[in-house]
């Protein structure tokens, strides 16, 4: 088990800076997720940790030992790619035993270690089978077993479940998380799927264009995104963004939609923050999550008039897409709320939970 520290890592490929001055402390036993779109540098970062790539600048420590220039095989960490990369001619047992045989363990020891891992993964009953006789899920368990059997200091996983059916992915998310809790090994997990990141990570490091955008618990990155990129990338359905500018109306400081004559009343604390942090006519983006918008067919004080664009039912809740002037926003409601398309309705925002971004820098000003 291990702590992993990255200090100012830089990795270039020709002119392209894949990882740009990246620093991160991964705690012992932590499940850390590197999240970002394709090309953001997350896999390169993982490969630098594993030793498959050597960083151009910066330092990497595993368990306080400087491994920056150490070869991959000497770093004592397990890299799991697509989980089902198994040897087809070997049984599940022999696939798992493979790394131990390579290290010349004796037979009894191998048997003992494989059995321990098989028990944890609940695959004892399939150890005699070959990969082609296994279901996709069991193949993945075997591949994980092969990584676990030599008790590495840390696990590095690169989009291990990205190619599976939606339903199966959900099962694997639960299983990987459970395994992590039961084994308690430091895990660095790379994905572009925010659902995986949110549902498995102890902390999430959001990356874009080689640069760390924000690091925090799922709750922190979700409720207090540091910029528009993070706010947009995390959450499904995504956060609503409304382009607006601060304006006075009837002596009241309000946010006016950029393209429409619609005004949004905001609480005094936020007014103050805006006044302190931005000069007069700066353009802003108001961010509000669909579950922080309330929907009503009746007009209430300070509610905004909208038109229903489309309704999406998911079973446990509905998403109602509405037009607020020329902006489109999503509202999360109970399953019983079912207005008709084109109908006029009213929404209001939970002002304690909104985000405000500077439109130019895209950074949060709250």
């Amino acid at each position: 088990m291990a702590e992993i520290i990255l200090e100012n890592i830089v990795k270039r490929y020709g002119d392209l800076i894949a990882v740009n001055n990246f620093s991160l402390d991964i705690k012992d036993k932590e499940f850390l997720v590197l999240l970002g779109p394709s090309g953001c540098g997350k896999t390169t970062t993982l490969r630098c940790i594993s030793g498959l790539e050597i960083a151009d600048e910066g330092k990497i420590f595993i368990d306080e030992k400087d491994v920056t220039k150490t070869r991959a095989s000497q770093r004592d960490i397990a890299f799991v790619f697509q989980l089902y990369a198994l040897y087809p001619i070997l049984t599940a047992h022999d696939n798992i035993a493979f790394p131990l045989k390579a290290q010349r363990y004796n037979k009894e020891r191998i048997k003992e270690e494989v059995n321990k891992v098989a028990e944890l993964l609940q695959i004892k009953h399939i150890l005699h089978k070959k990969p082609k006789e296994l279901s996709g899920g069991d193949m993945q368990r075997v591949a994980l077993g092969r990584a676990m059997v030599r008790r590495p200091k840390a696990f590095l996983l690169d989009e291990p479940i990205g190619t599976l059916d939606a339903k199966f992915r959900e099962e694997m998310r639960v299983e990987l998380k459970r395994l992590h809790i039961d084994i308690g090994a430091t895990t660095v997990y790379v994905t572009h799927d925010q659902v995986e990141a949110m549902s498995m990570g102890d902390r999430i490091a959001v990356m874009n264009l080689g640069i760390l955008q924000q690091i925090g618990t799922p709750h922190e990155v979700y409720t207090k995104p540091s910029n528009i990129f993070v706010a947009n990338f995390i959450g499904s359905p995504g956060m609503n963004f409304i382009n607006c500018e601060p304006k006075r109306r009837d002596g009241e400081f309000m946010l006016k939609l950029l393209k429409d004559e619609i005004y949004i009343l905001i609480p005094e604390e936020i007014q103050k923050l805006i006044k302190n942090k931005v000069n007069g006519d700066k353009k802003l983006v108001l961010g509000v999550r669909p579950e922080d918008v309330s929907f009503s067919m009746k007009k209430e004080e300070s509610s905004l008039t909208v038109k229903v664009y489309v309704i999406e039912e998911t079973g446990s809740y509905n998403i109602i897409d509405v037009n607020l002037g020329s902006e489109m926003i999503k509202v999360r409601t109970l399953p019983i709320v079912k207005p008709s398309i084109g109908e006029t309705a009213y929404v209001s925002f939970d002002m304690k939970r909104i985000s405000i971004f500077d439109k130019e820098t895209e950074s949060s000003i709250l």
């Binding site: 949110m198 549902s199 669909p290 489309v310 998911t314 079973g315």
Partner: protein
């Protein structure tokens, strides 16, 4: 625009029955979704309707016409594939014009122009018309592929997982756009997917398919709230429904080694009593289990928080009583911590009971 009727449709590939005696009626102007896992027979069904495959048995009717002997072109359906099949070095306009230039249709130049403009307006791709398709983003390409299907106003749109190659954000946006497009066009959509979220959010009705057989047809609401069997209950809904082996004893269902004793409501009791089976499966969705820190009056179980999965708008709480693990949904403001002991309260009136052998829903 038209209805589609499949009668006893069967298609085999060697020893595999891909579509097994399927009976289906898709109504005019309906957004109908065929939902199932990989290999269920969804795409084969769609290809049979399009005429790209020939069935071994059964009939395909489109707009009350038996089309079994019609070539794909004569069936007047439009197929939108998972992989956008656009001509890469044509402009968007040329791609959209292409289906209209067929000799079969004989449209005038002005008619072709009018249709292309109209469709590109609906799909918001007017500004892309003169661009080559190789220079488009995934979402734009999928819009153009849709546009090419729309220009000739077919009787039925057949869509084979059109969103599965788009990234999560774009998929969300396209779901909304497809729903709205369906509303605006008022056309019949026959849509195939393995993603239950797409089925639930867009479908007027959904058919759940497994191993070539339809297991249930209904509105998203019916499929979700009244699943006919274990497969449907498990396949629809995320996080998935909790299933427990349970034994009927007097007025209650006993889970595990008396870890949980669920008091049933009157209706469930009388149904199960007359059903007369002792061993059953109890199914309850995670959102129908409420978490509290104080014990409640009924069906309230003391359990330990095993781990949490944050989903942003809600937390999925994985709970453990002895060896039974299950999931509940809680609002993040409850701030449930790992290792904490809480009460899980089953809203038993929302639960489903299944026969463990047939997997059919019995109550």
């Amino acid at each position: 625009m038209a209805d589609v009727k499949l009668v006893s449709l069967t298609k085999t590939f060697g020893s595999i029955t891909a579509v097994d005696n399927m009976r289906l009626e898709i109504r005019d102007k309906e957004f109908f979704v065929l939902l199932g896992p990989t290999g269920a027979g969804k795409t084969t069904t769609l290809r049979l309707v399009a005429g790209l495959e020939k069935q071994d048995k059964g009939e395909v009717h489109i707009d009350n016409i038996l089309v079994d002997d019609y070539s794909p072109a004569l069936r007047d359906v439009a197929f939108v594939f998972q992989y956008y099949t656009l001509y890469p070095h044509y402009t968007v306009r040329q791609n959209l014009e292409f289906p209209l230039k067929s000799k079969l249709r004989n449209y005038s130049k002005s008619e072709i122009y009018r249709r292309v403009v109209e469709v590109s307006k609906v799909l918001h791709i007017e500004r892309l018309l003169e661009r080559e398709t190789v220079n488009l983003s995934g979402g734009e390409m999928q819009r153009v592929a849709l546009g090419r299907a729309m220009v000739r106003t077919p009787k039925v749109f057949l869509m084979d997982e059109p969103l599965s190659n788009l990234d999560a954000k774009l998929r969300e946006e396209m779901r909304r756009e497809l729903s709205r497009l369906h509303f605006d066009l008022g056309a019949t959509f026959f849509y195939v997917t393995h993603d239950q979220v797409e089925a639930m959010t867009m479908g007027d009705r959904v058919a759940v398919l497994n191993e070539g057989k339809i297991l249930q047809i209904g509105t998203p609401n019916e499929i979700y709230n009244s699943p006919k069997n274990v497969f449907v209950a498990k396949f629809v809904g995320s996080p998935a429904i909790n299933l427990f082996n349970a034994a009927l004893e007097k007025e209650s269902l006993i889970i595990g080694d008396k870890e949980m004793v669920c008091t049933l409501i009157e209706k469930q009791r009388s149904v199960l009593k007359s059903y007369g089976k002792k061993h059953l499966i109890l199914g309850i969705r995670p959102e129908d289990i409420t978490i509290t820190r104080e014990k409640q009056k009924l069906n309230s179980y003391n359990c330990k928080v095993y781990f949490n999965q944050s989903m942003g708008a809600e937390d999925i709480i994985n709970l453990k009583i002895d060896n039974t693990v299950f999931r509940a949904v809680a609002p993040p403001r409850l701030n449930i911590k790992v290792g904490e002991t809480i009460y899980a309260n089953f809203n038993i009136d929302r639960a489903h009971v299944f026969n463990p052998e047939t997997e059919e829903c019995v109550a």
